[in-house]
């Protein structure tokens, strides 16, 4: 199928460097997610892999073959776009079959391939409709179907779920995960939503301002981040950062997940005032304003009654805390 290697890949528009030397190896059959805040270059990187943007320096290789100058259609990739990008004048079947038709496949072959993809994505009854007659979720399934039909070496997804509503997003996310298991294909997936990244990925690439901040399995990034950026980006609600000095620790900053902060109404290490309480049923989020560290989030499991404006004390679980240098790098023991 397809493995992807990026070697010191760089992209500049004029004098602005958007991608600043990215190295990455994606194994065959892996589900790799690029995640990062908007403007970090993740979509540009995906477009460079697709061949839609040219590479300023460095090398992109698919299956060990350098593809820098190869046209997108010849790279044996398929891409699913955020805006679906279905051809408005073609039916669902023709949308899905177009790439094969362009590649000169016979009519019977195209029919068989589209039927198979349609069965996989339950698109059967929609095959003769045009994109305008489909709902958002159906359009996205057709767009995925169009990618599946090609049996590409590499699937590229560019924020495919961000135009869908919350319920549909979860359903389609599960669909994509199932598709990945069934096809066993290599998939590269771009998103700004760290939940999508955590749930789908075998390997997450966190990008920050055109550089790789960290590469790793979802739980490795969650439990063992290399730097403040990754620690803050992965996990929801966000990790709390405390000034370590007052706590009598040797590091410059202390990162502590909201679930590892204990809350008490009688006493503890950090005094603060509750500014807001969110009850979600299964868990309760308490936002506490502290004089030294600003707003901290505490995550409690189950239902808890805390009144806003009351004074509480927080105590970090020292064994679960992460220590960081002043420059944002992790301080490891």
């Amino acid at each position: 199928m397809g493995a992807l290697t990026l070697t010191q890949v760089t992209k500049s528009f004029g004098t602005t460097d958007v991608i600043k030397g990215v190295d990455l190896a994606v194994e065959e059959g892996e589900f790799c997610v690029f995640v990062g805040p908007s403007g970090c270059g993740k979509s540009t990187l995906l477009r460079m892999i697709a061949g839609l943007e040219d590479v300023s320096a460095g090398e992109v290789a698919i299956d060990g073959v350098r593809v820098n100058g190869v046209a997108p259609a010849k790279r044996e990739i398929a891409m699913v776009f955020q805006s679906y990008a279905l051809y408005p004048h073609l039916t669902v079947r023709d949308n899905m079959g177009l790439a094969l038709k362009q590649a000169g496949k016979s009519r019977a072959e195209i029919r068989a391939a589209t039927d198979k993809a349609a069965a996989m994505l339950e698109l059967g009854p929609l095959m003769d409709r045009r994109p305008a007659e489909l709902s958002g979720g159906q359009r996205q399934r057709v767009a995925i179907g169009r990618a599946v039909v090609r049996t590409p070496k590499l699937f590229l997804f560019d924020e495919p779920l961000s135009n869908l509503d919350a319920a549909l997003r979860v359903a389609t996310r599960i669909e994509i995960a199932r598709l990945h298991r069934e096809l066993g294909a290599t998939m590269i997936y771009v998103t700004h939503d760290q939940v999508e990244a955590m749930t789908l990925a075998d390997k997450i690439v966190v990008l920050n301002a055109g550089r790789v901040a960290q590469i790793g399995a979802p739980m490795d990034l969650y439990n063992d981040p290399d730097n403040v950026f990754v620690a803050g980006f992965i996990g929801s609600p966000k990790m709390n950062f405390l000034k370590a000095g007052p706590l009598g620790l040797r590091s410059d900053a202390l990162g502590i997940r909201p679930e590892h902060l204990a809350i008490s109404t009688t006493g503890g290490q950090i005094e603060g005032r509750i500014s807001h309480v969110e009850k979600l049923g299964g868990e309760t989020l308490v936002y506490v304003t502290t004089p030294a560290d600003g707003l901290l989030t505490v995550r409690l499991f189950g239902e808890h009654d805390h009144a806003p404006d009351s004074t509480v004390w927080l105590t970090p679980d020292a064994t679960r805390a992460l220590h960081f240098h002043e420059n944002g790098q992790r301080m490891r023991d």
Partner: protein
């Protein structure tokens, strides 16, 4: 309620202004059409009256259809207008696509250069154009007119179309590239259908001045077999005597094809506007 009433009075005022404008704009057309059905005496006696039984006269239309080669003029006008329109839309859309789609050195400068023609009237170059046509032996051919009108229409076409093409989704074009469509297929099959309303706008703005033009036919192609309708109608206007019946009838007939073409394109125009608004 006050808000609703306010908007009613506002839309009434807007409609009043628009109706007034329509009346003013249509008045000359009305006078032409009405008088073309009247006898010569009646035209001068009561220019604004509708034709009555005693004043009704088709002499103008008879003269036009018998005298002069009216059908040929008509055909010439049609060929020149449609051919120029075709080239303006084709080349204009292609240039607009290149300007909006590809990043290349001097892109915006090129766009500015192409748009310059909107500000400089092509008639300023009449003498040079005539010299060029004489040198290339194109005087008294329809080709000369088509070339000039294509040049005249291109700046506005490029300007309007490139604005619209910038709004066509990049994802769609990229999807086409990944599926192996050529740039020409992407242009003709994906992009052009999406900018159809803009094409209709450009078509209308391009077509009408070409159809109505007297200047270039008079200078570049005044021979009998290349006369356009507007130029042909001038033969009824003499230095001393003018056959008003014939002139009015010819002009009345000249309105019809423009009207038909306009109706074809304007439907696209309106569909484009509402499609964007209502989704």
């Amino acid at each position: 309620m006050s808000i609703a009433r306010h908007s009613t009075s506002r839309s009434l005022a807007a409609h009043a202004v628009l109706i007034l404008y329509t009346l003013i704009a249509l008045f000359p057309v009305f006078v032409i059409v009405v008088n073309s059905f009247k006898s010569r005496r009646a035209i001068f006696a009561e220019p604004l009256a509708l034709p009555r039984a005693e004043t009704f006269d088709l002499v103008g239309y008879r003269t036009v259809l018998q005298q002069g080669d009216f059908l040929l003029y008509f055909q010439n006008s049609m060929i020149v207008t449609l051919a120029s329109l075709f080239f303006v839309l084709l080349f204009g859309a292609m240039a607009a696509f290149a300007l909006s789609e590809y990043r290349f050195r001097g892109n915006s400068l090129m766009g500015l250069y192409l748009a310059l023609g909107i500000m400089i009237p092509i008639r300023l170059g009449t003498v040079a154009i005539l010299q060029m046509m004489v040198a290339s032996g194109l005087v008294n051919t329809l080709t000369a007119l088509i070339l000039v009108y294509t040049a005249q229409g291109l700046p506005l076409a490029v300007f309007i179309l490139s604005e619209f093409m910038r709004n066509v989704s990049d994802d769609l074009k990229n999807a086409g590239r990944i599926d192996g469509l050529s740039e020409y297929t992407i242009f003709f099959r994906l992009v052009l259908p999406l900018v159809r309303p803009a094409m209709a706008t450009v078509a209308v703005f391009t077509m009408i001045p070409i159809w109505n033009d007297l200047w270039f036919p008079l200078i570049l192609a005044p021979s009998e077999e290349t006369k356009t309708l507007t130029l042909g109608s001038q033969s009824f206007i003499g230095q001393f005597v003018t056959d008003w019946n014939a002139v009015l009838a010819a002009l009345g007939l000249a309105i019809v094809p423009v009207l038909v073409l306009y109706l074809i394109f304007s439907r696209q125009l309106i569909r484009g506007i509402t499609a964007g608004a209502v989704k």
